[in-house]
């Protein structure tokens, strides 16, 4: 099975390497929307996401000759826009991050939870396809502290491997796993009011 560039993209890639201006425009129009969606997941600010997409395409233009075609063109661009988005995050003036501890489970000295959990109702497909539900979930993800949100987005949404996320964020794989677990726990707490039924 060929996991590399698809025939259609292969033609486009050949034209890109030849410096064909119309090929660059085709690339931007074909993949721009997808890249914007990825950038928006990492960058809460829409303008920053647009900037990251522009940076990503310019980076792609410069490096297209070194793209070996062993992966899909979309995969290659996906990685470039993630790098551009993370670079954008690093250049922004940072406020001290909100501690995540308030969103994590609290335990008593004997190891039991301090508060009984809220049982959730079952989430069906129709729940998770409803636009307002998805927007609410997205807003809760956006509200997580950045260092945890980035790991959640890169692992659970962008489906990158732990090692890859570790390299991108310059942290250890162990730190990725810990932050992912805590991000999920924090998000769960944020979603309690939406999906939880009080335990009777």
């Amino acid at each position: 099975m060929n996991h590399g560039v698809a025939d259609d993209d292969s033609t486009l890639l050949t034209a890109l390497r030849a410096g064909d201006a119309s090929a660059f425009e085709q690339l931007v129009r074909r993949y721009g929307g997808r890249l914007l969606a990825v950038a928006r997941r990492l960058l809460s600010n829409h303008e920053d996401a647009l900037d990251a997409v522009q940076d990503a395409f310019l980076s792609a233009f410069k490096s297209v000759e070194s793209f070996d075609g062993r992966s899909q063109l979309s995969t290659w661009l996906h990685r470039i826009v993630i790098n551009a988005s993370l670079a954008k995050l690093r250049t922004k003036r940072r406020h001290p991050e909100t501690p995540i501890d308030d969103l994590l489970p609290v335990f008593l000295a004997d190891g039991h939870r301090a508060n009984p959990g809220v049982r959730w109702r079952h989430l069906g497909t129709e729940d998770l396809e409803r636009q307002e539900t998805l927007e609410l979930i997205r807003s809760k993800i956006d509200s997580l502290p950045e260092s945890y949100r980035n790991v959640l987005v890169l692992r659970d949404i962008e489906e990158l491997e732990t090692e890859t996320v570790a390299q991108l964020l310059e942290i250890s794989p162990g730190a990725v796993k810990t932050r992912l677990h805590r991000a999920r726990q924090a998000l769960r707490t944020c979603l309690d009011p939406l999906f939880g039924n009080p335990v009777k």
Binding site: G33, A37, F61, G117, I157, H181, L191
Partner: protein, 82 residues
């Protein structure tokens, strides 16, 4: 195993990374602790909710036309200086 212990290894349990001994201890705890059973269920659904976002947000959304033109113009400027 306490609730603290169980929740700490929740992600590893879902990923199938626990040793057999850990799995047994974890499942024993779940059998005795409805609170942790509820937590596991809601944790799983949280992951599903996160994944659901992946399929949304207008994968078919287009870039604003002015951005498309700005990108092409920037690329052209870069080509002219080479």
């Amino acid at each position: 195993m306490t609730c603290r212990d169980a929740l700490e290894i929740l992600a590893d349990y879902l990923d199938g990374r626990l040793t057999l001994a850990q799995q047994v201890a974890f499942r024993l705890h779940l059998g005795l602790c409805p609170d942790c059973r509820n937590y596991l269920d809601s944790y799983r659904q949280t992951v599903q909710a996160t994944i659901a976002v992946r399929g949304d947000q207008a994968e078919c959304e287009s870039l604003p036309e002015d951005l498309v033109q700005a990108i092409l113009a920037a690329r052209q400027r870069g080509s002219n200086t080479e």
